[in-house]
């Protein structure tokens, strides 16, 4: 119990009666024990840890956090060396403590912001000076000015969004059965080779075992694909962070595919294999669906068990039509609750569970009680704590430097290409593929080509060969047309 935490300030969403920490009271007590062992003030440490959580969640500004503890830290350590902007000494810290410094600056500066920016927008088409301005404005967008049909490129702040959908994928449980691949195809009706869910079988230098990497779209919070889209067809849904493509807006320039580091995009080069009439959908034009009011739309979509529109009436789910981009959607029609499948589930996870593997854990990463968060927590508990591990050494003195106690579990986890700053929302349990890892298609336990699905669509691993066949077939047609 963290009885020492007597701060009356508003509670962080993570906070429960017992604990402010997402990993729970037990973990917090352990942290306190470790702090007590040092010569420093444990209460201050715990209080700072609590506020650090709020800082990360964006409830507290860096300046407030800095100001609140500046004096305490100087008392305790004689110097405050936390990284912060250079001129902090010139700033009135007391004032900043009451009100966020940024906000006080905002009051002064941003009075004219609305009008000046609007004027600026008007001039943009004519001049080139906007480029510099654009770089400044990228992370400073005022939602109120953006029309409804232009989507954003970032999930809403934590306290404003409903969810942040994501996954924890336990690679140590994956056996490469490709059930998830089939599950995805059944749900979305994707064309041959457009494997929105793809599973690598690969060899790594140091291991003899077969490794698997399950690769859905990472639904990044800082998604490069959404940033580069020239029409905002590719966007990040504000309310829950899903990275989606509006099939009605996309112009098929494929810049999203170019900018994505993970190669998860699949363009619809020709006619889709599964016709629109075979998909479960409301028989209405997208603009009609959008024109309905929210309640009526939800009712109609629910009646139709629609798997094509999301709750905004945007055509973002199931396979794309010809000439536009598609990729793993994390099933928005399910998350908007108008299909027969429950909210908070995805097709690949269902298939994986059905196969008895339960390697994919989908859910709201903002919610500490969600399936991915509790799964990760349980896995970390099961893994030996570092302390137990170091006790196993019979004679610790044999080592000049005994293994340093580490505050996190020994369970290996990683996010893919995290240093590219994409903020992916898929966390993997298992070992990260090394720089020289090589895919070994011939060692796949189950070949893609052997998969069957509800649509009778052929499944292949490499789409290029299939597309080339299509190009050749059409090439023959072209000659015929030329003569006609």
């Amino acid at each position: 119990m963290s009885a020492d935490d007597t701060n009356d300030e508003s509670k962080h969403p993570y906070e429960t009666e017992d604990s402010f920490h997402p990993l729970g009271a037990e973990w917090e007590d352990q942290m306190r024990d470790e702090l007590e062992d040092t010569e420093f003030d444990a209460d201050l440490g715990m209080e700072m840890a609590r506020d650090a959580q709020r800082l990360v969640a964006g409830e507290l500004s860096e300046e407030e956090f800095y100001a609140e503890y500046h004096e305490d830290i100087e008392d305790e350590f004689e110097v405050d060396e936390r990284p912060v902007f250079d001129d902090i000494d010139d700033v009135d810290l007391d004032a900043a403590e009451d009100e966020s410094m940024l906000e006080s600056l905002t009051d002064v500066d941003f009075e004219n912001e609305d009008t000046s920016r609007r004027e600026m927008m008007k001039k943009m088409g004519a001049g080139a000076a906007f480029l510099g301005y654009g770089a400044y404005a990228t992370y400073d967008q005022d939602d109120e000015q953006i029309p409804e049909n232009v989507s954003g490129i970032r999930p809403a702040d934590k306290d404003e969004r409903e969810h942040r959908w994501g996954m924890v994928i336990d690679l140590e449980r994956c056996d490469g059965c490709l059930s998830c691949v089939t599950g995805c195809i059944n749900e979305n009706g994707t064309s041959t080779g457009a494997n929105w869910m793809y599973v690598f079988t690969y060899d790594d230098e140091d291991t003899d075992q077969q490794n698997f990497l399950v690769r859905p779209c990472q639904h990044c919070s800082n998604a490069p694909c959404a940033k580069v889209c020239p029409v905002r067809a590719r966007h990040v849904r504000s309310k829950d962070g899903l990275v989606l493509t509006d099939y009605e807006i996309c112009i098929g320039c494929r810049y999203c595919q170019v900018a994505c580091p993970y190669g998860v995009n699949y363009f619809q080069w020709g006619e889709p294999d599964v016709p629109m009439s075979d998909l479960e959908n409301l028989e209405m034009r997208p603009e009609e669906v959008r024109s309905l009011d929210e309640e009526e739309r939800h009712k109609k979509l629910s009646e139709a068990n629609d798997h094509v529109y999301d709750e905004r009436g945007r055509w973002t789910d199931s396979r794309p039509p010809k000439g536009v981009m598609g990729k793993c959607t994390m099933c928005p029609s399910r998350q908007d609750g108008h299909t027969d499948n429950p909210k908070g589930t995805v097709a690949c996870q269902d298939a994986c569970d059905e196969a008895g593997m339960s390697a994919i854990h989908f859910g709201d990463l903002d919610d500490p009680e969600s399936r991915p968060n509790t799964y990760l927590e349980r896995r970390q508990e099961v893994e030996e704590s570092p302390k137990e591990k170091s006790e196993k050494f019979e004679d610790a003195e044999d080592y000049e430097q005994p293994p340093a106690p580490h505050p996190v579990s020994q369970l290996p986890t990683f996010k893919l290409l995290e240093d590219l700053n994409t903020e992916p929302n898929v966390t993997y349990i298992g070992n990260q593929p090394g720089a020289n890892a090589t895919e070994t298609p011939e060692e796949r336990p189950v070949p893609y080509e052997s998969l069957s699905n509800d649509w009778g669509v052929k499944v292949v691993a490499e789409r290029k060969e299939h597309l080339d066949y299509g190009a050749r077939a059409n090439g023959g047609l072209e000659e015929g047309e030329g003569e006609a």
Binding site: G134, I153, V228, P230, Y255, M325, L417, K464, E478
Partner: protein, 445 residues
């Protein structure tokens, strides 16, 4: 013409293409139109079937590249266009009167090359029908984040600037030569001359000077030294593209390609209209020397990239650089540049090595080298991404017939545009020949 050494350039020379049309013009026009039509049919076929008629595919588990010849050719055309306008602006701004005869041709090349680049954007799209509606709707927001939106903006901006530039300078020429130009075109000339008075000449001169200054200043910052390379160099997940050197590299390619284009135009019109006293050996040799300087820059920047990619590089940059060096297309491009540089160096040292025909061949060589390098650049970037697990996916990219036909088609369209303008307006500025306006009265009919 036997008396070319004695002949002085005069206004009658520059309107000759408008007054006389030989059978060769019709043959050339017919051939270009036929090629353009074949490509338009191929494009129509692509619209009907979708981009599956190209050999493009998804990168990643798809094993292909999603951008290829269309984007490579797009950058190439934009490069020619941007280089062309820089050339013309430099002539005006720095008073390089020697090159004044080629200034307007460089501008016309800019306009037609930009049009081809714009066409390639349309050809590249999966849904070109939505181009205007989708782009305009979200433009104020996408322009803050999307390099592609910057691209469209800058290309539009430069199209407007170049058209204004040409439009303004044409007014003086049209007014001065009005009486000698065919009556059948007078409605066109009246449009060009709306509101013209002789008093404006000085003002126009100043406006054009400022426009030229704007172009020269903005070219390295925004055009081929900025926005176009940013399409690629801002993508950190593709090591073949990543890096600040792409700005200077693209600019050097733009200038070499444009100079080559101008040399080719000068050579062709010189043959066709006996302009050997206007496009003298001195002019073409000067252009050839400039081509040498920029080709040297191109090769030097390539060397920088190769050394950076091989000496103690990260894993993936080394992979892509090794692949690039081993690619026959790259070897061919650099080989051509080496031969061109050898010729240009030799003729600089020993004038007898120079001939206009050799410079023409060198120009074609440079254009082929830059085009291949650009297409390869696009391909290599996507074929060797940071995420190396896809390396084992079998894949290759050879442009399909539909894609290849677009190259022939756009070159033909560009030629058509130029040939039509040749029949409407003087493609050499009156100012360039005005010093020798003595025979004015005799020649006019």
């Amino acid at each position: 013409m036997a008396t070319k050494e004695q002949k002085e350039p005069e206004p009658a020379d520059i309107i000759r293409p408008i007054l006389n049309t030989s059978k060769w013009w019709y043959i050339g026009f017919g051939a270009a139109a036929a090629v353009a039509l074949v490509w338009l049919a191929a494009f129509g076929f692509q619209l009907q079937e979708g981009l599956i008629v190209t050999n493009l595919a998804d990168w990643g588990s798809g094993g292909g590249v999603t951008w290829g010849l269309y984007i490579g050719a797009f950058i190439w055309w934009v490069g020619i266009a941007h280089g062309g306008i820089i050339l013309s602006a430099a002539v005006r701004l720095f008073g390089m009167t020697k090159y004044q005869p080629v200034a307007r041709m460089a501008e016309l090349l800019t306009l037609s090359a930009l049009a081809m680049a714009g066409l390639y954007i349309v050809v590249h799209m999966g849904r070109p029908d939505r181009l205007v509606t989708s782009v305009v709707n979200a433009y104020p927001w996408t322009v803050q984040t999307s390099p592609l939106a910057w691209d469209v903006t800058v290309i539009t901006l430069y199209f407007v600037m170049t058209a204004t530039y040409i439009g303004l300078t044409l007014r003086y020429d049209t007014y001065q030569l009005r009486d000698r130009l065919p009556d059948i075109l007078s409605p066109l000339y009246s449009v060009v001359l709306i509101g013209y008075s002789e008093k404006e000449d000085e003002v126009i001169e100043r406006m054009v000077w400022w426009l030229a200054l704007g172009i020269i200043v903005m070219a390295p910052l925004l055009l081929h030294g900025g926005v176009i390379p940013w399409l690629f160099s801002l993508i950190p997940s593709m090591p073949g593209w990543d890096g600040a050197i792409q700005g200077p590299q693209f600019l050097s390619i733009a200038l070499t390609s444009a100079l080559s284009g101008v040399i080719i135009l000068a050579y062709s019109t010189r043959i066709a209209y006996d302009w050997d006293h206007i496009f003298t050996d001195r002019v073409v040799r000067g252009l050839t020397n400039w081509l040498g300087i920029f080709s040297l820059m191109f090769v030097w920047l390539q060397l920088q990239q190769v050394i950076n990619g091989l000496f103690a590089a990260h894993v993936r940059p080394e992979v892509v650089m090794t692949a690039k060096l081993a690619n026959p297309v790259y070897q061919m491009a650099i080989g051509i540049m080496a031969v061109v540089l050898a010729y240009i160096f030799a003729q600089a040292v020993k004038p007898s090595v120079f001939s206009q025909t050799r410079s023409l061949i060198a120009s074609f060589g440079v254009l082929i080298a830059t085009l291949s390098e650009k297409i390869l650049f696009v391909y290599e970037g996507l074929a060797y991404p940071q995420f190396g697990l896809y390396d084992q996916v079998p894949g290759h990219y050879t442009p399909s017939l539909v894609e290849l036909s677009s190259l022939a088609g756009t070159v033909a369209l560009c030629a058509i545009i130029f040939m039509v303008i040749l029949k409407l307006f003087p493609v050499i500025e009156l100012h360039a020949v005005e010093g020798h306006d003595d025979h004015d009265e005799e020649v006019s009919s």
